[in-house]
Subunit: 305 residues, 2 copies
Amino acid sequence: MGFDRLCEAILEKKNPTVAGLDPKLAFVPNFIKEESFKKFGNTLEGAADALLTFNKGLIDALCDIVPAVKPQCAYYEMYGWQGVKALHDTIAYAKEKGLFVITDGKRNDIGTTMEAYAAAHLGEVEVDDAAFAPFGGDALTVNGYLGSDGIHPLLPICKEKDKGIFVLVKTSNPSSGELQDKMIAEETVYRTMGDMCEQWGEDTRGAYGYSAVGAVVGATYPAQLGELRKALPHTLFLVPGYGAQGGGAQDVVPAFDARGLGAIVNSSRAIMCAYKKGDWQEEDYAKAARAEAIRMRDEIAAALK
Amino acid sequence: MGFDRLCEAILEKKNPTVAGLDPKLAFVPNFIKEESFKKFGNTLEGAADALLTFNKGLIDALCDIVPAVKPQCAYYEMYGWQGVKALHDTIAYAKEKGLFVITDGKRNDIGTTMEAYAAAHLGEVEVDDAAFAPFGGDALTVNGYLGSDGIHPLLPICKEKDKGIFVLVKTSNPSSGELQDKMIAEETVYRTMGDMCEQWGEDTRGAYGYSAVGAVVGATYPAQLGELRKALPHTLFLVPGYGAQGGGAQDVVPAFDARGLGAIVNSSRAIMCAYKKGDWQEEDYAKAARAEAIRMRDEIAAALK
């Protein structure tokens, strides 16, 4: 309940970071692509096979360092249903290796449609008398613009199956303020959304005090991270914007509580493309990813001390 | 440019409605399911095959009545990558039959990730020296909570490939007001989002005066429909909430301009499940869908007079 499994994994690995799996084909080492294209041609099947092979190598190298991975749906949909199959297979492989999987889909809709997304990404679907978990992630990012009708359909699955969601609150991008920083009476839109997260999560709090309804808050806005940490004591933060987008270790400190919990910091490209920096051979892309994951873990641990 | 193709199709068919293709398995007639399960077992493959067969029958029956169809991604993702393949095949079949396809994914993200969604749903992706259209829709619904960073990546594809987007502005659900009706200084959040749509679309206006950046505005809020029609003269509306959610023909009238353009009204379940009402045999589900689509067309035409 309430992200307990994620909190435990963070404590066990002493690492509040999540590795993003956003595999553009350009990120994949050539030797992997060549192998996949040999098997499937330079087709969507070939691309999807290359993504999956790349991801498996990364997962093998990272699974004892990071508590969680975050596949970004867009980069799989980009390669058609074949890419979406690679998303499925990536999630299955990560689960097999004991990782907590945050499916980054930013899904949103209402009522039975949102129930369909909930079943797809966190739950099960029935076909006649058989049941299947279509994607099988542990948590899903969602967009709360539609209000409670878009969030309530997720909560029963969170409770019954011990899953979680992260609602976009204050996103990491430069234009996030165009709407999110606007004032509603005395409050910003993002704070209003954050307060809704606290409310939505009320019945799903776990042993660490956090509910199953988390919030996405960008590392690029440290002041807001601190404001929201104080205002939303039961809401776990998924923190993008570290590294490539400019957020540093000091910037994410305000996202944490005194126990070093309350946030999980994402890094995607810096880990996946670590082999493109320095003197790595592309065959060592997984080793390079691991080294970067360790560096990031230690950097955040030092900042939190 | 700017939804011209959709406007032309609306004028040609004298019908500003779009048929939603949200195929829950429970909507599919038994004789289709039995056939599919015989071929593929009661598996996700079997479910996906049944959805596709159902959709093809609906498309055949509707393609000379409605200008557009709107597959809702959630109901395909719900059946795993196999369901997503059925989404792909449904879109391909609808295009073959000359229909304008609005992919209802409410996708949202920023920068290169949003570019990946744009390529997935509206554009092309390169694999080595080959190019593929992963899903091939004509328009995509998107969520603008992240501001311009989530919309700008779509605009080049809209321009180059004559595609469009619909941004969620005032959604049809009961709780849409929790955020969207809040006042920002003198304006509501939904109006702020609507004004952003006008701006985002500025460079993509077509022959009918509408830009490639449309807005989702619910039939369940007729006063807001009228307010937004006046305020956003270059923004085409996708109008959900007709029928099942309670919006009627009179309610959608304010969404239209004097030419009977400016809006396309969605109906999903009422069309798809028409055979479940009245004296239809389930084998005649497609005929029933066609009859309902004609009824809806005529009802709106009468209200617009």
